[in-house]
């Protein structure tokens, strides 16, 4: 069976959930091989998790290079050349998109970007795009060998599978051009709440929440539901909540089972990031707010009264 290369996203010895989604999706096209690029000792820590999700092979390229992203691109490019894989799968993130784009142009491969599904069509790779915030669904196919595909986190249900996980160490080829140098790195460490793109329930607050302190109302409800917290751009721009929690066109695209919008008007750019959520609940004091046009259930009222009451009900039901 053809090999499918999967780039492993990892931090401090932990594999990101999106990598397991890639390993699951890869099986539609062939046999997944995981590719680990990282500092010395990375491979060993990760192999168990990769095997448990179907990795037949694990290519490990250990490097302490401070070159920015180019080691990943070079390792993948040399594997594309030597293994002629059916496809290369990479998770959507700022880094993932750039690695994928560079790999595609370097190996003359189709780039199927930000897809929500992967399938085999006519012996090649096909992909499903959800564009303009889910307003359009498009099917695309690659016209080249070894297409590079980036998969949006949260679009595939992770399935465990046994893989042989045979390890093979690979060299990091010499750089083909000049690279930027990493001077320092401070990764965002997720708190105790689930990741926005992984959460099945999200509670988001908008400008209507009024202040950073009052976001505790949003957090309180979120915690009672085991949910992630999101924010509109107006809330982020007003300094109520950090940018990495922004949902929408210039923030994250999410598609949870349940999305609760508190004090969010529902501007088109916000909707672009959440309108494919399975169930949408809105609380807004303005009966004309456009968010109600897409809400399955809406309450016209003050979020500071409605949200705490809902939290109380949820907590009651749990005990």
């Amino acid at each position: 069976m053809a090999e499918v290369l999967v780039l492993v996203d990892h931090l401090d010895g932990e594999i990101k959930k999106s990598t397991f989604e890639l390993l699951t999706a890869a099986r539609a096209l062939g046999e997944p091989s995981a590719v680990v690029v990282g500092p010395a000792g990375s491979g060993g820590k990760l192999s168990e998790g990769l095997k448990a999700h179907g990795a037949a092979k694990i290519y490990v390229a250990e490097t302490d290079s401070s070159d920015f992203l180019t080691p990943q691109v070079s390792v993948l490019a040399s594997l594309v050349e030597s293994k002629d894989p059916a496809a290369v799968l990479i998770g959507v993130s700022a880094d993932g998109k750039e690695i994928a784009g560079r790999l595609a142009v370097r190996t003359n491969s189709a780039l199927l970007g930000d897809v929500v599904g992967v399938s085999a069509v006519d012996g090649g790779a096909g992909a499903t795009h959800s564009v303009f915030g889910g307003a359009f669904i498009a099917e695309a196919k690659a016209n080249t060998a070894h297409p590079v595909i980036t998969l949006r986190p949260g679009s595939v249900e992770v399935e465990a599978a046994d893989g042989a996980g045979a390890e093979e160490s690979v060299e990091v080829p010499a750089a083909s051009g000049r690279s930027a140098t990493v001077q320092s790195r401070e990764p965002v460490t997720g708190g105790d709440r689930p990741e926005l793109t992984e959460a099945s329930v999200i509670v988001s607050g908008g400008r209507g929440v009024g202040s950073a302190e009052q976001f505790s109302v949003v957090e309180g409800l979120a915690d009672s539901l085991g949910a992630a917290v999101g924010a509109s751009r107006a809330a982020v721009d007003s300094g109520f909540y950090p940018h990495q929690f922004q949902v929408g066109q210039t923030g994250k695209t999410v598609s949870p089972q349940l999305y609760i919008a508190l004090g969010i008007s529902g501007a088109i750019q916000h909707r672009a990031g959440m309108q494919t959520s399975k169930t949408i609940i809105a609380v807004n004091k303005d009966p004309e707010a456009p968010i109600f046009e897409i809400a399955d259930f809406g309450v016209v009222g003050d979020l500071f009264k409605v949200a705490p009451q809902l939290q109380e009900e949820v907590t009651k039901r749990k005990s």
Binding site: D95, R102, A180, R185, T250, F297, K305, V314
Partner: protein, 261 residues
């Protein structure tokens, strides 16, 4: 310093965006078009560097249909010095790899360039990679998603801010830098700027002018093809109730009914 800014004309995100039913490409006639919001910030960054470095020149480069001249004019009226517009029917439907190669060729016609500035992600295609891809083709360092940008002597430093954290990157010029939406507030074109822009040189290049073969670009030879597309029926609103002191309880009841709690 010789600074190039890549600018793209995109559909206004406030209008409803569509894919055309014929060839599944962006229906550019269905929407108002504007200079991409983040590209405006790339222009602003270029102008700030120009103001800090005597003798600098800012050239904007755009690839797109005829009406992309509006976006070019906007950049010129903000203060860019001149523009190059790659415009050719044959470009329609180009994929990201083709777009990258075409832009790299155009940049190659501009002589010695110190810095190539771009937006981190265009609001229509959202590839979020064209600047890094161009750097890969040209063999230049890519410092992307810049929230802060400084040039000292021949060294460029960028504070890269993404959802995954902060990375400080540095490189020697020439280099490619993309900026994010937080880097600055773009200036409004002044009346004087708008008038001056009308006299600034805009060079329109065809594929042949840029040394690009027609087989390298366009829908027919794109490395990927959209085979079908359809609008998803818009979600319609459900029940809406006025809070009468029991709004939270009503939501809870709804969620129980849906087996969500």
């Amino acid at each position: 310093m010789n600074i190039v800014v890549l600018v793209k004309q995109v559909p206004d995100t406030y209008s409803e965006r569509k894919l055309s039913s014929g060839d599944h490409t962006l229906d550019r006639d269905a929407t108002d078009a504007v200079l991409d919001e983040i590209d405006e910030r790339a222009v602003e960054s270029a102008l700030q560097l120009k103001e800090a470095n005597d003798g600098s020149e800012v050239t904007v480069v755009a690839m797109g249909p005829d009406r992309a001249t509006d976006a070019i004019r906007k950049a010129l009226s903000m203060g860019a010095d001149k523009a190059v517009h790659l415009s050719d029917e044959a470009l329609h439907g180009s994929c990201a790899v083709q777009t990258t190669r075409a832009l790299a060729k155009v940049i190659g016609t501009l002589g010695e360039v110190d810095l190539i500035l771009a937006g981190n992600e265009a609001s229509d295609g959202r590839t979020g990679a064209v600047p890094a891809m161009i750097a890969d083709v040209l063999g230049l360092p890519a410092l992307t998603h810049g929230r802060e940008l400084t040039v000292e002597g021949s060294t460029v430093t960028v504070r890269r801010e993404t959802d995954d954290g902060v990375t400080v990157l540095s490189a020697e010029l020439p280099a490619v830098v993309s900026v994010n939406e937080k880097i600055n507030e773009p200036r409004y074109p002044s009346f004087k700027g708008i008038m001056a822009a009308k006299k600034k040189p805009v060079t329109t290049l065809t594929l042949a002018d840029a040394g690009i073969d027609a087989s390298e670009v366009g829908l027919a030879t794109a490395l990927s093809t959209v085979t079908s597309s359809q609008p998803k029926p818009p979600k319609s609103g459900g029940e809406k109730v006025e809070d009468e002191g029991d709004g939270g309880q009503k939501i809870a009841a709804f969620l129980v009914g849906q087996k969500l709690i």
